[in-house]
């Protein structure tokens, strides 16, 4: 859910069940994503700061498996 205080903020979701461990999210937005020792996606934060918006959109676009999703106003 989008916080009422920050209605413009995107929120990140990561699904480790479908994650393919390609690391595309880390390449697109290393400030938002990491990989655990098994290569699976880890969120470094759930709210996307305004200045990271483009990187977050790229991460969701590059993710090959659909593991990375964004919720909130585009």
């Amino acid at each position: 859910m989008v916080s009422p205080a920050e209605p413009h903020r995107l929120r990140l979701h990561a699904d480790t069940e479908v994650c393919a461990g390609a690391g595309q999210c880390v390449r697109a937005a290393p400030d938002l994503f990491d990989q655990d020792d098994d290569g699976l996606v880890v969120l470094l934060r759930t709210e996307v700061p305004a200045e990271a918006r483009e990187r977050a959109l790229a991460a969701a676009d590059w993710c090959p498996s659909g593991a990375v999703a964004l919720r909130g106003p585009r």
Binding site: A20, A22, G23, Q24, D34, D37, W62, P64, S65
Partner: protein
């Protein structure tokens, strides 16, 4: 076009596939027509089977990430392009030709080795390997072959070190792969080379089970194999495909990328001026050259709806990575090599759950191999006209057989 192999068959208007490149740097011209019109093209592959070709960027991504996209080579409609390829893949079951949950289980045994972080830690080792191989190349009397004397040596050394193939077995491994990857090898020679490769891996699994080192084969032998999570036969196959895929792609990509930059001196000059452009340049070269164009062979287990129409359930299809990477809807002016291109969502490593597990290593290896080469040989240039370079077009990964260079 010859009378025996017409571009189009009469009755059904189906195209003969695969197509050859008219220029080594660009996917086949016919892809442009395929992206237009209906977006899905019917084609006949060498086995005589009919398949669908997917050509648009959005369709290729959708067709590779759809839950009904099956990679299982045991399916009768699996559109194998090489003779005997389906039987071998159905028997050995490398994870690139598996579906979930089997695919997920095997891939997760490997993926931790290739994270962005782990690959970044490999940079000094790869720099050392490239420097050593560049020095070796440049002590020769030109011309020398950039494929055999540099790219192949770099790529085999990198993947063998990662997997734990000892240095003393490197020449043996290179001999095996030069046979198994050559278009002039007979089926018998290829089978003998594969048997040699499995013999080598089999021996290494024994040695590393008893005395593990800091390498992938040791971790797989003492982990999943020891715990009974994978059979020895499957492990042999997964290590074999990792070794092969890990070296053939870089071996083909590095010389082709070097030539592409030499043909675009303005782009090479930008990289010399601003080395921070290199990572983006590697992605642009991957997009532009698309050497793994026809690797993504699939069967639709249910109807797969695409913008260009639906792939019907039970039919084979090939998602053309090179066609997608040259789609002007995704990459404005796609024929232009632009090392600072902002669009980075190419599919040179595929898309979906099977996207290349070693892509981060591949990117780094290509970058370091090219930078080292251009730094140490500023006068590098081809020694023969481009038209004379023999293509490896029968290989699953596109490349040049040899690239004589001088400096």
């Amino acid at each position: 076009m010859t009378p025996s192999v017409p571009e189009r068959t009469g009755a059904d208007e189906a195209l003969r596939f695969p197509l050859t490149r008219s220029c080594p740097f660009t996917p086949p011209d016919a892809y442009q027509r395929m992206r237009g019109r209906e977006g899905l093209t019917r084609a006949v592959i060498p086995s005589g089977e009919q398949v669908w070709l997917v050509a648009r960027h959005a369709d290729v991504r959708a067709a590779l990430s759809h839950p009904a996209a099956s990679s299982d080579a045991r399916h009768p409609a699996f559109p194998a392009l090489g003779e005997g390829e389906q039987a071998v893949a159905a028997d050995l079951r490398p994870f690139i030709r598996m579906d979930p949950p089997d695919h997920t289980r095997v891939r997760r045994m490997l993926v931790g080795e290739f994270t962005v972080k782990r690959v970044r830690e490999m940079r000094p080792a790869i720099e050392e390997i490239c420097a050593e191989q560049a020095d070796r190349l440049l002590t020769r009397t030109p011309p020398a072959d950039l494929v055999g004397e540099y790219a192949n040596r770099v790529s085999t050394t990198v993947i063998c070190r990662l997997l734990g193939v000892p240095v003393e077995d490197l020449d043996f491994f290179r001999r095996i792969t030069s046979v198994s990857g050559s278009r002039t090898s007979t089926e018998q020679e290829v089978n003998a080379a594969l048997a040699d490769l499995f013999g080598l891996i089999d021996r290494l699994i024994d040695e590393k089970s008893a005395d593990p080192g800091d390498d992938l084969i040791s971790r797989l032998a003492t982990g999943p194999l020891a715990r009974g999570e994978i059979t020895r036969r499957s492990l042999l196959s997964q290590i074999g495909i990792t070794l092969n895929a890990g070296h053939e792609t870089s071996r083909n990509m590095i010389p082709l990328a070097a030539l592409a930059l030499l043909r675009h001196p303005d782009q090479l000059a930008r990289l010399r001026e601003d080395p921070s452009l290199w990572p983006g340049a590697v992605d642009e070269l991957l997009r532009y050259l698309s050497v793994a164009d026809v690797i993504t062979l699939r069967v639709a287990t249910d109807d797969i709806p695409l913008d260009g129409g639906a792939i019907p359930a039970g039919e084979g299809y090939i998602a053309l990575l090179g066609a997608a990477n040259h789609d002007p809807a995704a990459f404005p002016d796609p024929q232009k090599l632009d090392v600072a291109r902002p669009q980075r969502n190419h599919v040179a490593f595929g898309y979906g759950a099977h996207q290349c597990v070693g892509q981060n290593l591949g990117r780094l290896e290509i970058e370091v191999a090219l930078r080292t080469l251009f730094d140490r040989a500023p006068g590098l240039r081809p020694a023969v006209p481009l038209e004379e370079l023999p293509l490896r077009s029968s290989s699953a990964i596109f490349g040049l057989e040899e690239v004589p260079v001088t400096w």
